[in-house]
Amino acid sequence: MTEPSPFIPETQYQIAWDSTSLGWLKECPRKYYYHMIEGWTSKHEAVDLKFGQLYHGALEIYDRYLAKGIDHDLSVKAAVEHALTHSWTDGVGPWRSAINLDPNDRKSLKCREFLIRSVVWYLDRFKNDPAKTKIMVGGLPMVELNFKFEIDYEFSYGTPYSLCGYLDRVVEFQGEPFVMDRKTTLMTLGSSYFDNYDPDNQMSLYSVAARIAFHTPVRGVIIDAMQIAVGFSRSVRHFIFKTPDQLDEWMKDLRMWLENARMYAIAKHWPMNDKSCHKFGGCVFRHVCSKSPSVRDRFLESDFVRREWNPLIPRN
């Protein structure tokens, strides 16, 4: 079966957008072009992504068990078992076992053992969490919610743009609905970390999605961040509030961004935002863009592989 495409066939016109692809466009159109249209991605394993997936997967299991009425301890065990099983490959062994990683590399903190420690410490800390998973009509918990909805803006007559993605969880906290997003980081969890998320493309898109796709007018997003260090895993909860006016403004801005993307696609030219190269920990394409245009393809071929990012393919 053919996979659905986020693009209009045979063109560079993307009509289904998730927060990742939209984020690339906003950061730098050239970065968007390399990732989204050409499909280039780093040859190295995306450790942060994989660690995040395992962590989210475990917490999702916990949330689902708890929503079924299973007690905390059994749900924690199920979450841990899930993380251990999914971080093991037959014939290969464990994923990122601490003993195999170079301790001089900070990324070595994202190892299997610290993953399990983070899961247990997080779940125990929020054992009696006042943020409760909302239950949908029909009884299913609002956990790992896939969404795709058309927006009130068309690429051309009869071809509306759509937004898609996943919400980790929708919760009720002190009588108010919120999207909950869990993150893992090596950064210290202070204002310099959380300021990155307000304003932020992902947080606004999630708030809009809850409102439109799930008819849940959330007050904003709760970020449960987990810092992973050598001797500890530390979680901090942070609230980001979004008013309806702010979300309307974000949607208005979105139209302009989509128009920009259309203009770049028509021109077949995706300009470099050279004020963005060193932000966000440094763009992966920085060393490619710093070369003369005539030799860039060679650097892409040697340092990257093609792995298409398709926001329309459901996770697992």
Binding site: D73, V76, K77, V80, E81, L84, T85, W88, D90, G93, P94, S97, A98, I99, N100, L101, D102, P103, N104, S108, C111, R112, E113, F114, I116, R117, V120, W121, D124, V230, G231, F232
Partner: protein
């Protein structure tokens, strides 16, 4: 190899309920100890090699020797 390391080295498909229970228990003990100000490693990590440390302190030592007029 510690009990925890041994468990982490095994294929999880062969785990018993008790094995999972032990892993969770050890993680909780580490948290309790951490809350008391005691760091309990939950993973065996590679030691930083002496060469890595020499790479870091080497230039500093060279500077000091230079200032003392004892450069190599």
């Amino acid at each position: 190899m510690s009990e925890l390391s041994e468990l982490f080295a095994r294929d999880p498909l062969g785990y018993t309920d008790q094995d999972i229970e032990t892993i969770v228990k050890r993680m909780r003990e580490a948290q309790t100890q951490f809350d008391l100000g005691i760091k309990v490693p939950v993973a065996e990590r590679k030691r930083k090699s002496a060469n890595d440390l020499l790479d870091k302190i080497g230039p500093v030592t060279d500077d000091i020797l230079k200032q003392l007029g004892l450069e190599k």
